[in-house]
């Protein structure tokens, strides 16, 4: 990310600031906001019956004739060279078809790195993939063994003899901090933000807090292991059943790497068993596809759980400084957020923990800057709410500390600093009701029961406390999302694009949307996804998929409207009307504002002698993102107990109050919010990937040792929302996938402080930190 990028994004924003709203997408609100029928209604998941019956087919479950099975072998050292490699015992083991090492792996490029300027670039690492004897991190893939059965492959892998000449790796965060790099930009945002003289304002502020916060490595830990089933049909036709949250981009990249045309590669992924940022394109797919081609047989590779930790990067650790200065009334005069996260030189994903802090509060001055620490580790990647999930821990702990220092209620302090416009860019908010989210949430939660003095409530061995925090996550709609609508004469429609379903309820919600968009009942609409042969949808990430796909369907519906008006001709009740004067309603085309002028689809198609009409269109460029400040926001409330005897923390209540625009399906949305909040409980209390700093090796690569919340850890969670439509986004909706986790860790930490008087500034808040 470069200075050029900062200049380009800055200029576009400046120009868009001058452009009248009505010229832009979202300039006039989506008409469906006012006349939705299926959208906003509670509906069970359409794929529910398949999932509960075990009939939803995941990537490793596709039945194929002559299938072979593969196992990866990982390096036990972090840096060095392979000096000795003996594959003979493995190759002669029963059932073995192929042992692939750097010696016989075809020469192949590494995929282009994830980039916001090229949406088909999805690589997480610039390192060579099984191309040479060099070892760059502990866990790196050094071999793939293929056999007739999984048992044979696993056994043969144990027979490989590999010798290493290790060199000294850099694996300690603190050691590498001195050499940290300072990037020009973080994603599409400028890295360094400096408004006024924040350090000077801080020094002379009436009240101030200034502390450091630490967050550890974490892993996505989706329950489905990364897996793929590869089928080559000859040398020039590749089908990959992959567990991926980036179907269309993966197909483009694989075609390039394997020297194929785009239409010679098909990636299918109709169901993904959880992603959270981790199900991207990594080394294992490339190695497995290359092996299957060499072998001329279909191949299945499912990573071991340990393998997932070894080669799929997680969330970077951070060390953050947050300092806030305030005047006597609690108005912020300075807001400083800076620090370090890991991003190896060969990585692609910054952990932008200061971005959320730019949107939350008004302040007299700002200073924000991040640095990248280079370690010899598996490259980190995006994990649910990258940046915001952990940046909000630091910022919202600091706000709570300031409130305590000043003797002000922490909600009151936050609302005193509520911005009217975006605090840094000055852009107007498209819609912003955090004040209401806080007020409604506090009322439902019973915030007034909170004792201002820490440690004031006690029940036996337990100290009780309440805490709250807020979060912000940016709206995003990806450019280039396409969709196809096929409208049949019988009045049914099929809507299709290569979108991803990882549990968000994609098909369910877009079926509801398409039904309303086309003026059809839900039962007349089928939404197809999960296949790169369909019109390309962007990757599922950044809480952007729903808006991106919705934008594509809007464009396709507009095109369909034009086609229908043309087909209707002069003998129709809508004759003489232009596309802009009609809408799709009641199973046909009707004049806007004149219910009498309407003709059903079946009648239009029958008269035209057509069985069906098919249109494909791409969504408008998402310029609304650059003109307006668009953010989902949250107010999170937590009540918990801390044991005096053991330091054990039990979360009794958790409530999330959200402002995310229109809620498209209350049932699936509530599950998204709760899911994020539960991952937030893990972030706050239990999750930590432990690296041995001597060897750079992950020491807890299993679900027995990496602790995600289990049923007994999860209380009944309440969620609520303002539901106020955003006039600038499709359907009035903003993203909901990542705002749930944002703010939870701080709400928990603040409740721990309220219970005990102990301020823990390092996640996770484990028992030892409270004894």
């Amino acid at each position: 990310m470069s200075k050029v990028q900062n200049a380009v994004v800055g200029s576009v924003r400046t120009v868009l600031g001058w452009v009248p709203s009505q010229w832009l997408p979202g300039g006039t609100p989506d008409p469906l906001i006012a006349r939705r029928a299926a959208v906003g209604r509670q509906a069970s998941r359409l794929d529910g019956p398949l999932k509960v019956a075990g009939k939803a087919r995941f990537a490793a479950e596709v039945a194929v004739e002559r299938l072979t099975y593969a196992t990866l072998v990982h390096s036990p050292v972090a840096r060095g060279r392979i000096t000795h490699l003996d594959t003979s015992a493995a190759e002669s083991a029963p059932g073995v078809n192929l042992v692939l090492t750097y010696r016989n792996m075809p020469r192949i490029e590494s995929p282009a790195l994830i980039s916001l300027s090229d949406f088909s670039a999805v690589g997480n690492s610039a390192l060579p993939i099984l191309q040479d004897a060099e070892i760059r991190y502990n866990g790196q893939v050094v071999a793939l063994v293929v056999a007739e059965t999984q048992e044979q492959a696993d056994h043969a892998a144990s027979l490989l003899v590999i010798g290493y000449a290790p060199t000294k790796p850099t694996t300690r965060f603190q050691d590498a901090q001195a050499e940290a790099r300072t990037p020009e930009s973080l994603l599409v945002e400028r890295n360094h933000v400096s408004v006024g003289r924040a350090e000077r304002e801080l020094a002379r502020a009436a009240h101030r807090v200034d502390n450091h916060y630490r967050t550890p490595w974490q892993n996505h830990s989706a329950i489905e292991l990364h897996a793929l089933t590869v089928i080559w049909d000859g040398e020039d036709s590749l089908t990959v059943h992959d567990a991926t949250q980036m179907i269309a981009p993966s197909a483009v990249v694989l075609a390039k790497l394997f020297g194929l045309k785009k239409d010679q590669v098909r990636v299918l992924s109709p169901f993904v068993g959880g992603g959270f940022g981790g199900k991207g394109l990594w080394d294992h797919q490339i190695v497995a596809i290359a092996a299957a081609r060499l072998l001329g047989r279909p191949l299945r590779l499912m990573l071991t759980r340990e393998g997932v930790y070894r080669i799929i990067g997680g969330r970077s650790p951070t060390e953050q400084r947050v300092a806030i200065g305030a005047d006597g009334d609690g108005r912020f005069t300075a807001l400083i957020h800076s620090g370090h996260s890991v991003m190896p030189t060969y990585g692609a994903c910054p952990e932008p923990f200061t971005l959320g802090s730019r949107a939350l509060y008004r302040a007299g001055s700002f200073e924000m800057l991040q640095h990248h620490v280079d370690l010899d580790v598996v490259p980190n990647t995006f994990m649910r709410a990258p940046g915001e999930a952990i940046g909000s821990f630091a910022l919202e702990s600091a706000v709570d500390e300031l409130a305590h220092e000043m003797g002000i209620d922490p909600i009151d302090l936050r609302l005193r600093n509520e911005p009217e416009r975006h605090p840094i860019s000055g852009a107007p908010f498209s819609q912003h009701a955090r004040r209401q989210a806080f007020t409604d949430g506090a009322k439902r939660f019973g915030w007034e029961r909170r004792q201002r003095e820490p440690g004031a409530r006690r029940e036996g061995e337990w100290r009780l406390g309440l805490g709250c925090a807020t979060g912000s996550f940016p709206y995003a709609r990806m450019p280039g999302a396409s969709a196809r609508i096929t409208l049949r004469r019988d009045g049914a429609a099929v809507v299709a694009c290569s979108a991803q379903e990882m549990g968000m309820g994609t098909a369910t919600v877009q079926t509801q949307h398409a039904a309303d968009r086309l003026g059809l009942p839900v039962s007349a609409v089928v939404f197809k996804l999960g296949d790169s042969a369909l019109p390309a949808a962007p990757m599922a990430g950044g809480s952007s998929q729903t808006a991106s796909v919705a934008g594509a369907i809007i464009a396709a519906a507009a095109k369909l409207t034009g086609e229908l008006v043309r087909l209707a001709g002069n003998d129709s009740p809508i004759a003489g009307l232009r596309a802009g004067e009609v809408h799709l309603v009641d199973g046909g085309v009707g004049a806007i504002g004149d219910a009498a002028r309407h003709e059903e689809y079946r009648s239009i198609l029958a008269r035209a002698g057509r069985e069906e009409i098919t249109v494909t269109a791409t969504g408008s460029p998402p310029l609304e993102m650059l003109k307006y400040a668009m953010h989902s926001t949250s107010a999170i409330f937590c009540e918990l107990r801390v044991s005096d005897a053991t330091g054990e923390i039990r979360v009794d209540r958790l409530l999330g109050s959200f402002d995310c625009g229109t809620i498209l399906n209350p049932q699936t949305a509530a599950s998204q919010f709760k899911g994020g909040m539960i991952m937030g409980l893990g972030l706050a209390l239990t999750e930590e990937t432990l690296f041995d700093e001597r060897s750079g090796r992950i020491m807890n690569p299993s679900l027995a040792d990496y602790h995600i919340p289990v049923h007994l850890d999860v209380p009944e969670i309440e969620v609520m929302w303002t539901g106020i439509p955003d006039p600038r986004s499709p359907l009035g909706a903003r993203g909901i996938g990542e705002i749930g986790i944002t703010g939870v860790a701080a709400a928990v930490a603040n409740a721990v402080f309220n219970a005990t008087g102990r301020r823990v500034r390092e996640l996770p808040i484990t028992l030892d930190k409270l004894l």
């Binding site: 998941r45 019956p49 075990g54 999984q150 993904v272 759980r305 599950s671 709760k674 049923h711 999860v714």
Partner: protein, 168 residues
Amino acid sequence: MAIRVNGTEVDPPEDARVSLLDLLRERLQLTGTKVGCNQGACGACTVLLDGNRVLSCLTLAVQADGREVTTIEGLADGDGLHPLQAAFIEHDGFQCGYCTPGQICAASAMLREVTEGVPSYVTADLAEEHITLSREEIRERMSGNLCRCGAHNGIIDAILQVATEKAA
């Protein structure tokens, strides 16, 4: 000898290393049973062996010789849904759906354990014959089945509803 899987007899594998999980998924194409860790840590591979819940990844297929295995595909009577399956849909007790078969199989066995008076870590009176199935009891008894999407509330709601209907 043979293994009865959902009422059908199948031969045990010749390779003694084959787990019950891999027998089901790779040899019998019963892919409703999921694999999340192969280490007994996540519960996604839970099936019923003679009615009791077991982790099929830690069970060798040959250990099931002469016994009855019930998977998610064989849980319901006929083609309909088992009451737990229907309740999971109603309460949105899943998102991605990957841990779901294991959760449902575990829940069905867990309800039987409760009717048989098997106590848990949170049961106040270990000698009590009739256990009241509170939310906390279900949460404790289901804690061996991990869910990363965070469908925990819906899962407990679904199980509680089925338990309540059974008791009524």
